[in-house]
């Protein structure tokens, strides 16, 4: 055990914490300084975690097959870019995107359908709940059987995983318009479609975007985990599962880092669109005083 590294880690952590706390309380006059500060805070948080991780794994001599230090992971990452890129293409650009669009679309349409017909509302909504937790462990092998080893079966798993959050949130969102908003449409004798498009969907967007955000990470997890159950020999899940078995844990973490990056970017994109679409909602407009 290397005590000085451990002590350094703890000191660094405390210092960074204090600095961050100070920085996020402080209001800068200059807007660009403010913006810079808002970037520095999460970055410093991240750096702190990395420093802690590096020092503690080295300080306590944690075996590399359990948890490699970040430097080893970074080294592995830059040396494996072509492989990682191929994996991202296979898993994200094929399976995740296709499954995400289909699953969210399907959940959304089912919610609309349920909303349209009281009969289906009573008949389909309870059954929608059945799909809610079709465990990936059970479904993934079946999808491989039905749709083959390639990305299509992973997309199918993603569809199943993303369907329910979208269904639930859309149903809740469609109920979110206020009575007076509905009364107004009623006085215009607006058709169901008109009410939907002009009133109920806008009011539902905040909920729908919640689902889109939750699903953006769920889809990635789903596709990666589904690859544990049979794939061609490319893909992020394939890489992770085989490299764990081979004890190349640094490669596993490199792949995880890539997954986190891709997933965060995806989430960020959805959140960005959300701010555009629901600009009027108090949560975006800044209900805070």
């Amino acid at each position: 055990m290397n005590l000085s590294l451990v002590i350094f880690a703890i000191v660094f952590w405390l210092a960074a914490w204090a600095f961050n706390d100070w920085l996020s309380r402080k209001r800068f006059k200059n807007p660009s300084a403010q913006r810079l500060a808002s970037l520095v805070v999460p970055a410093l948080f991240g750096i702190t975690i990395l420093v802690l991780w590096e020092c503690l794994t080295r300080g306590f001599n944690v075996p590399g097959v359990l948890l490699p230090p970040p430097s080893a992971i970074a080294h592995r990452l830059v040396n494996s870019l072509p492989i990682l890129w191929a994996d991202v293409q296979q898993t994200f650009f094929k399976a995740v995107l296709a499954g995400y669009i289909l699953g969210c679309g399907l959940g959304f349409l089912t919610a609309i359908l349920i909303d349209r017909s009281p009969f289906l509302q009573k008949g389909l909504l309870p059954l929608g709940n059945f799909v809610s937790a079709l465990p990936i462990v059970g479904v993934a092998p079946i999808m491989v059987m039905w749709f083959g080893f390639d990305w299509q079966s992973k997309a199918a798993v993603v569809v199943i995983m993303t369907f329910f959050p979208m269904l639930v949130n859309t149903v809740a969102g469609l109920a979110a318009s206020t009575p007076i908003d509905r009364d107004l449409m009623h006085t215009y004798a607006a058709s169901w479609w008109q009410s939907l498009v002009k009133m109920r969907l806008p009011a539902a967007w905040p909920f729908i975007f919640n689902a889109l955000k939750i699903n953006s990470t769920l889809a990635l997890i789903g596709a990666i985990v589904a690859e544990f159950f049979g794939t061609p020999i490319v893909g992020m899940g394939f890489r992770i599962s085989t490299e764990v078995g081979r004890m190349n844990v640094d490669m596993v973490w490199a792949e995880i880092a890539v997954a986190a990056l891709v997933g965060s970017l995806f989430y960020g994109l959805v959140a960005f669109i959300e701010r555009r679409v629901t600009f009027w909602h108090p949560s975006v407009r800044g209900g805070q005083t």
């Binding site: 007076i180 009364d183 009623h186 006085t187 215009y188 607006a190 008109q194 002009k198 600009f279």
Partner: protein, 263 residues
């Protein structure tokens, strides 16, 4: 009694009871009322006497629990489906995701007006309520009175023969109010609309109406119906004539009688 097809609104023994968590609330009871084509009817009465509820029944937003009501000789539902009326709610009820312009366009879009027609009407009604230049703002960027005016503009933008207006000018100052009163009278005169108008201002009620309905609460009922003897042509200074003051006095008395506390 007049021929039915003359009646725009005709209520017989109308009653409405809300059932709430702590017992039923009688909002309307035994309401009999006839509104004729071209009438300008004001409803006046203490807070909570059922004015809004009655307007909502006409608009098919609330179902009466007893009695009958027809609108244009049909059930309120049929009338609503024929888009018989425009409604100005007591609260502005603007959609926050639409600009003022777009809020006014809403009924026009729904009723299938052409884009050019929409544009023209938006401009015209924004002018009417003195909001020209605010079309591109969002509702939360307007003052309370401006929001109310926007919602009036929205109801006036399309051609409904019957206007249901629930305290449309409540949040406006005297000058704007006078201005809009005049505008409304002109519009009414020009287009021969029928107007049901809730107000708390006695002068406003007398100035505008051909018929004033005085209501009283607990349970909500009609206590007096005053047919105005004022001419259809009404300059603002008609408000100083003895005839005007006499009607106003009768309304005030009716109002006072309906109140639970006497001063």
């Amino acid at each position: 009694m007049s021929k039915t097809n003359d009646n725009v609104v005709s209520a017989r023994d109308l009653g409405l009871v809300f059932s709430t968590n702590d017992g039923p609330v009688t909002a309307l009871t035994g309401v009999n009322l006839e509104v004729k084509k071209g009438d300008f009817v004001s409803f006046i009465g203490p807070s909570g006497c059922g004015k809004t509820t009655f307007l909502r029944v006409i608009a098919d937003l609330e179902k009466p629990t007893s009695g009958t009501i027809t609108v244009n000789g049909m059930t309120p539902e049929q009338a609503r489906q024929k888009r018989a009326y425009g409604y100005v709610f007591q609260a502005a009820a603007l959609y926050p995701w639409r600009t003022i312009e777009k809020n006014i366009a809403l009924p026009l879009e729904i009723m299938g007006y052409s884009a050019a027609e929409q544009k023209a009407r938006i401009e015209q009604t924004l002018d009417l309520v003195n909001l020209a230049g605010f079309g591109k703002k969002f509702p939360w960027q307007l003052s309370g009175g401006m929001q109310q005016r926007a919602s009036i503009a929205r109801a006036l933008a399309f051609d409904a023969d019957l206007l249901l207006m629930d305290e449309p000018f409540g949040a406006l100052d005297e000058i704007v109010r006078d201005h809009l009163n005049e505008q409304l009278l002109q519009l009414w005169d020009r287009t021969n609309k029928t107007i049901c108008f809730v107000t708390h201002s006695i002068p406003e009620a007398v100035y505008l109406s051909t018929k004033i309905v005085v209501m009283s609460p607990r349970p909500g009922r009609v206590t007096d119906v005053i047919e105005s003897t004022l001419p259809r042509e009404r300059p603002l200074d008609i408000r100083e004539t003895p005839e005007f003051l006499a009607i106003a006095h009768r309304v005030r008395e009716g109002l006072r009688a309906g109140h639970s506390y006497d001063e």
